[in-house]
Amino acid sequence: MNPFPNQIEDFFPDTAPLSEARNSALEQLSKTEFPNPGQEVWKYSKIFDLDLESLTPSLKNPSDKKTEPSFLDLEQSELVEITDGWLTGQKVSTLSDSSGVYVGSLANMGADLAHIEKHLSKPKDFFDCLNHSYNPEILLIHVPDGVTLESPIYIKVQSVTAGSVACPRIVVNLGENSEAKIIEHHLSNSGESLSVPILDAHVGQSSRLMHRVVQDLGEKTWQVAKQNFQLEKDSCVEIFAAAFGGDYARSEIRCELKGRGSEAYLSAAYFGNEEQTLDFRTFQKHEAPNTTSKLLFKGALDGDSRSIYSGLIKVLPEAVGTKAQQTNRNIKLSENAWAESVPNLEIETNDVVCNHASTVSGIDEEQLFYLESKGIETSAAERLIIAGFFDEVTSKVDDPLLVKEIDSIMTEILQSRFRDQGE
């Protein structure tokens, strides 16, 4: 089902093989149904309320439009900007250098395209097809063998046009023995919009990727995001996501541990307010021996907000010696808030250490009593407890800019919460 225009060659003048990929995605889209409530992967979601017909894919580069202020603006010199799905930053290529590092449009990369193409994900569901059809240009981050990027790559991913569907797409390719840190800030204006970002990351042998996202979308934005990580032998990925904004914001994170000894560390902090729904689906897939994955997602839900955490650890028969952990903890801060937590294990071999845990609870009365007994007012004691609850994940965020941003968003949420309570 494609509710959008099919004739789009004039808008996205790409060449083969990208044009072929787009055409095939368009065709697949027309045959792919919108999610329906019977599908397990969409359980508890409110995606069915999405009014697609009221939105239009962004077919023009909105470079003349106003940009949303981001904490990353301070890092102008290294900032990559994606606006309504389009690459709009002026400095895209400054990171590209003689060592073979490339940061820019995949279409302009030239020679090595075939080598990178094999790591691109194929569209599977409706939103994949949507992204693959209407993504204007792919941002490629390519780090060749043996190269360690000294400073992080900052990417501002913004939606600035009300009524738009944005389809940003980022492809990360780390060669062998390389290292990179990528920090994304997702934001949007206050109008209604849909963002369908896809990240495909391939981490080569013995390489290390650190990926961080702060999602602070406008209150009427819907987001259906996907991140795919493929890990080769002895490689490692550290993933951190902070989610605060959006009306409905879904994030699907898949880690495929394909190479022996590869490791994936996933953590997230989310804070829901008002009528928001924050929806996380994770997949830790162990395909090779001696692979390790550790997941810790923590969330607080206030107002009438809802969160969904649904995760699967899958261990294939050949993945002996797997160590996998999955923990999801939620604090409900109001009567009407709602948190669903569904951890799952699917283990097809022996000799593995896997565990999962999930909790949904209110603020601990004993902790509250303890802090109050020191002379701290109830509201301040709650604020300390909530900040302390998140500390386990936020303390691992090592980028000073990011730490400051998360801290300031959290402080603002907590202070406004207690301001409202005080009145």
């Binding site: 004993e366 802090l371 007994s373 002379g375 301040a380 004691a381 300390l384 302390g388 609850f389 500390d391």
Partner: protein, 245 residues
């Protein structure tokens, strides 16, 4: 009601988890006085401590508690603390992700004090108590030994503006040397800063140093005898049999 300086507990009856535990307790503690409460297990000692601080799950059914003329029972827990009450729990509660410095900063802000000054007096007092500075950066009571927890609590008591301290088995978990250090420091606070102390304990080791002005024997939720420090020695010898029904 007078404004005499006094922690005044009168005819206090209370339930814990719906069960009657205190059946009319009367104790008056003046500034600088040290009172000890002893009694068999289950006699209501900890319940008394919890009720004084307003812990959830404990309910006062009759009687009164006032400090310096102020009705404590009408106050929230944090208001009781701000009015000058401080409790050292038998089992201090873990608060993950919150450091003692976070706590103290918050307390300082609440009492309109300079957080930096509070923190520097914390460090000074920590040195007095033989507490390693690294302990100040640890999460509250998380993965701490019993003794470390009690020393931390004592530290907080000493830098607080407390007028009355309720110590629920502060001696448990402390080794002999730490116990001496902690008890001497509290004793000095009683004499020097006019701190009123209510110490719940099973052992004379603490009382040898604290030198209580009065020892109360609590059995079945009632004070069945009150006497001088020597009473504690007698209890250690004879036990509580003679008070049982």
């Amino acid at each position: 009601m007078t404004n005499e300086k006094l922690l005044n507990i009168e005819g206090l009856c209370a339930t814990a988890g719906g069960k009657k535990v205190l059946n009319g307790v009367d104790i008056q503690i003046k500034p600088s006085e040290v009172h000890a409460i002893m009694g068999p297990n289950g006699s209501g000692k900890s319940t008394l401590a919890h009720v004084l601080m307003g812990r959830p799950g404990f309910e006062v059914t009759s009687g009164s508690i006032t400090i310096d003329g102020l009705d404590v029972l009408s106050l929230q827990t944090w208001e009781r603390a701000q009015a000058g009450m401080f409790i050292v729990l038998q089992h201090p509660i873990e608060v993950p992700g919150v450091k003692i410095s976070d706590l103290l900063t918050e307390v300082a802000v609440a009492s309109e004090l300079d957080p930096q000054e509070s923190l520097s007096s914390l460090r000074e007092e920590a040195a007095n108590l033989g507490i390693d500075e690294s302990l100040l950066d640890r999460e509250l009571n998380v993965d701490l030994s019993g003794g470390e927890k009690k020393r931390n609590e004592t530290l907080q008591l000493l830098v607080s503006e407390a007028k009355y301290a309720i110590l629920d088995e502060i001696d448990s978990g402390l080794d002999v040397d730490s116990l001496a250090l902690v008890a001497e420091r509290i004793n000095r606070a009683a004499k020097g800063d006019r701190l009123g102390v209510l110490a719940i304990t099973h052992f004379n080791r603490l009382l040898d140093i604290l030198k209580p002005d009065q020892v109360h024997v609590l059995v079945d939720g009632r004070i069945v005898e009150t006497g001088p420090a020597e009473l504690a020695l007698q209890l250690e010898k004879d036990g509580y049999q003679k008070f049982s029904k």
